[in-house]
């Protein structure tokens, strides 16, 4: 059971740490943003509290130390600068690393934690902060029991508490609850630099906030002292946050202020109506009206609020009570609406199992269709057709469950660009477009490394140093655009920079030097660009830690092709380079074109197929060894799959050419017969067959036999290599 809770904490912590990274990167650009400073503090505080609660003691200890420094930042004693952001990013990475291990494995990280804590301590000391702050950072971590505390049994709040809140208070609620917060800042609050309205903005970020300001305490102009605070507030906050998180917002002003945090509504979500307490009840509970007064007025059958005001109750207090009624009723309604269309968190393993089962179902469906064809029974046909329709719907719905927005991957690159900019001394901004574009989760997981390679290459080789950019009349700050968009059954991901563009002379010279081409060989621009994908090719004069070892672009192409995708490159000198990755939406079930070659069946991914044309036996004989036909006035090179797979048996009189597109060029593959489209559930090949060129997997057909899935891009490159097609 504990493991389950720890897993739940891990998932939540990963999300928090992702948020932290994003906020820190934003904070670096806007170092004075009080919202971001508060948000960073809050994340660290939440991680500390939850980690302690679930037995991750080393994380709790470490987060506590970092939090102490962030406290000083929040207090305005330490400024936010690049170094502090870097340190906090490192702390975030360290916590993430610790999260990967079991809770009990924390001890192995103590040395690394202490090293980072020491760096924070030095930073605090160098910032010239009063010794007390530096000392705070050196204090040993609070014992676990102090971090978690005990359960609070009282449903309503206390007036003030400065120690760690009880356990029931620190944890988030399952559903949003509503707090009434009565906040009267101390009269001298401005003098310690606090702006109370910013605290309200911070609260607003935690949920839905209604603000009722009381200005009746503001003094007449002749007596008013502008450095005094005369305003008070009633705040209604609907949030999932525990009371501790709410109180934390007021952490630095609580001692000098009057603060009451009261839980006034804790719906379970199954309330049949949204009606909240009556106005009179709220006013009586708040002590602004007497019960008898309300009863007497209620019998007069007029608007209660108006009559209470006539009866001497402060109009602003009545307004506040009405606001409370309205706020809670609105929140309850919203919660019920959300619950009726709520979502659940499911582990990706369970989804993978579901996809596997659907795959089996699709295979069975194919078998049912085939049996129906053989039996020819009208009742079975009806069942088969309905089954086919339902299985297709189930397949589409199941596949959509695995689709996740690519933005989850994009956000990691903001950090990469930031770190590399610093390392390379270049000013680079990254912009993302289409982060909401969805791809199968398994595809997204495998895209990370190729994209890292491309961004690293772009920053190291493509983008010029600021002085070179200025000399070329460009802004000193370079841009990288990371874009995702749908294109048919593919998603096209583009990495584009506004750097110097490819230096084709240097690429050519490098290829000659490495013996990849001869000095005399004539190459078009696109052929020169293709040289970048040759294994071990590099034009970099210096090997850096970022790139330049000649591993990268060939790896990128291989990995993308393993995903069934393609890579294309476009570049203009002085303007920049753009690399396009076209990736299939999913890897589990694809639409295929089933073909027969000899006795065997093969599947082309339908997304790669342009058209099918006939090729007569006579025409093929006439062509001899010249494997070209004329198609729509263009020369179409073709490969005979019978030859590639050494198929036996007689060739049919009329064969079919399946035309596919590879890197902008069409190539034909000659097959005996095109059977038709086929829902292809992709099965991996065993270890022995995994490295066969031109085959990417297998699928089971309706009759139980196996068809091999063709790796079209690989077949094309092998064909180009072996046949040396030229147009």
């Amino acid at each position: 059971m504990l493991d389950k809770f720890q897993e739940s904490f891990r998932e939540e912590a990963y999300e928090l740490l992702n948020d932290l990274e994003r906020i820190l990167l934003n904070l670096e650009d806007h170092p004075e943003s009080p919202e971001d400073i508060a948000a960073v503090f809050r994340v660290m505080h939440t991680v500390k509290g939850s980690a302690g609660m679930f037995g991750f003691t080393e994380i709790a200890r470490f987060a506590h130390e970092v939090e102490s420094t962030l406290d000083a930042v929040r207090n305005g004693k330490i400024p936010v600068n690049r170094e502090l952001v870097s340190l906090t990013l490192n702390a975030r990475d360290h916590i993430r690393e610790m999260l990967e291990e079991s809770a009990s494995a924390g001890a192995q990280f103590t040395v690394a934690s202490d090293k980072l804590i020491e760096q924070f301590r030095i930073h605090v000391a160098q910032a010239g902060v009063a010794p007390s702050v530096a000392a705070v950072a050196k204090e040993p971590a609070a014992p676990l029991e102090e971090l978690t505390g005990n359960e609070d049994s009282t449903p309503h709040s206390e007036a003030s508490s400065s120690v760690e809140a009880p356990q029931g208070e620190t944890r988030d609620h399952a559903h949003p609850v509503t707090y009434r917060i009565a906040f009267k800042p101390g009269e001298r609050i401005f003098l310690n630099g606090t702006n109370p309205v910013l605290l309200l903005s911070e609260l607003a970020e935690m949920g839905e906030l209604s603000v009722i300001a009381y200005t009746d305490g503001i003094q007449p102009l002749g007596r008013l002292e502008p450095e005094n605070c005369y305003v008070a507030w009633d705040l209604l906050l609907t949030t999932k946050k525990g009371r501790t998180a709410v109180r934390d917002v007021f952490m630095f002003v609580e001692d000098d202020s009057e603060l009451l945090v009261e839980l006034i509504d804790e719906p379970e979500g199954d309330e049949q109506d949204h009606e909240y307490r009556r106005l009179g009840q709220i006013l009586v509970d708040r002590g602004f009206a007497q019960a008898g007064q309300v009863e007497t007025i209620a019998v007069r059958q007029r608007r209660l609020g108006e009559m209470l005001v006539e009866d001497g109750v402060n109009s602003r207090r009545v307004e506040a009570a009405l606001a409370e009624q309205e706020h809670v009723e609105r929140s309850r309604k919203k919660l019920q609406n959300e619950l009726s269309s709520s979502s659940v968190r499911v582990s990706s393993e369970k989804l993978d199992d579901l996809v596997d089962l659907v795959g089996e179902l699709v295979t069975l469906q194919a078998r049912l269709v085939q049996t129906d064809d053989q039996v020819g029974h009208s009742g079975l046909t009806l069942v088969s057709e309905n089954f086919d329709r339902l299985a297709t719907e189930l397949r589409d719905n199941t596949m959509s469950l695995r689709m996740v927005p690519i933005g989850t991957t994009f956000s990691k690159f903001t950090r990469l660009v930031r770190d590399l900019s610093h390392e390379l001394g270049k000013h680079v901004e990254i912009h993302t477009v289409g982060a909401e574009t969805e791809l199968d989760k398994s595809v997204i997981d495998r895209l990370n490394d190729p994209l890292v390679h491309l961004i690293r290459n772009s920053m190291d080789h493509g983008i010029e140093k600021p002085e070179e950019r200025s000399a070329a009349g460009k802004p000193s700050e370079a841009e990288i655009l990371l874009k995702a968009e749908h294109s048919g059954a593919n998603v096209v991901i583009t990495v584009e920079d506004d750097g110097a563009g490819l230096n084709r002379e240097r690429i050519r010279a490098g290829a000659v030097e490495r013996g990849i081409i001869t000095p005399e060989q004539e190459l078009s621009e696109s052929e020169i660009d293709e040289l970048l994908f040759a294994p071990g090719f590099s034009t970099s004069e210096n090997v850096t830690s970022v790139s330049g070892r000649g591993v990268g672009m060939d790896v990128v192409r291989r990995e993308i092709e393993e995903l069934g995708g393609t890579v294309a490159i476009h570049s203009a000198p002085g303007e920049g380079t753009s690399i396009e990755l076209a990736i299939p939406l999913t890897l589990a079930i694809i639409e295929g074109l089933l073909v027969q070659v000899g006795e065997a069946m093969y599947v082309f991914p339908l997304s790669a197929v342009g058209e099918c044309i006939e090729l007569s036996n006579q025409e093929r004989k006439d062509n001899g060894k010249r494997h070209f036909v004329s198609n729509r006035g263009e020369v179409l090179p073709y490969v005979v799959l019978r030859d590639v797979f050494s198929a036996t048996g007689n060739e049919p009189e009329i064969e079919q050419i399946v035309v596919v597109s590879s890197q902008g060029e069409d190539i034909g593959f000659v097959v005996d017969e095109v059977i038709g489209d086929h829902q292809t559930v992709i099965k991996n090949l065993g270890r022995l067959y995994r490295h066969i060129e031109g085959i990417s997997g297998a699928t089971i057909l309706g009759d139980g036999s196996v068809a091999l899935i063709l790796d079209v891009q690989k077949l094309c490159s092998v064909a180009k290599r072996d046949h040396q097609f030229t147009h």
Partner: protein, 108 residues
């Protein structure tokens, strides 16, 4: 008989450091003018200190029977600040909107 109008145009950040000066200027204006105009057009940011001065000035002018008008465009930052503090129901873009929409001042 011509009306004596006094216009005050504070600039930039109007907060705790400059609010006493504004308060004194308002008091002097109330002593000498029939109508006082406070121009928001050049104010970039404000804090609670400024808000308190405005509330106090509106009430003072009403007690004295003097016209106190707010005019000019309200900057985005100022509008959002007033909204966040619960001093109006919607972020104003024109100061004139504020005259009748500052909470607790509508009906007094």
């Amino acid at each position: 008989m011509s009306e004596n109008i006094k216009v005050l145009s504070p600039e930039g950040v109007v907060g705790i450091e400059s609010c006493n000066e504004l308060r004194v200027q308002l008091l002097q204006a109330f002593d000498t003018a029939d109508t006082v105009l406070l121009n928001f057009g050049h104010i970039e940011r404000v804090d609670l200190s400024f808000v308190q001065v405005i509330y106090s000035a509106v009430r003072e002018a009403r007690i004295r029977g003097i016209g106190f008008r707010l005019n000019g465009e309200v900057s985005k930052e100022v509008g959002e600040y007033l909204l966040a503090g619960g001093f109006c129901k919607e972020a104003p873009t024109q100061a004139r909107e504020l005259e009748n929409n500052l909470v607790e001042l509508q009906d007094t």
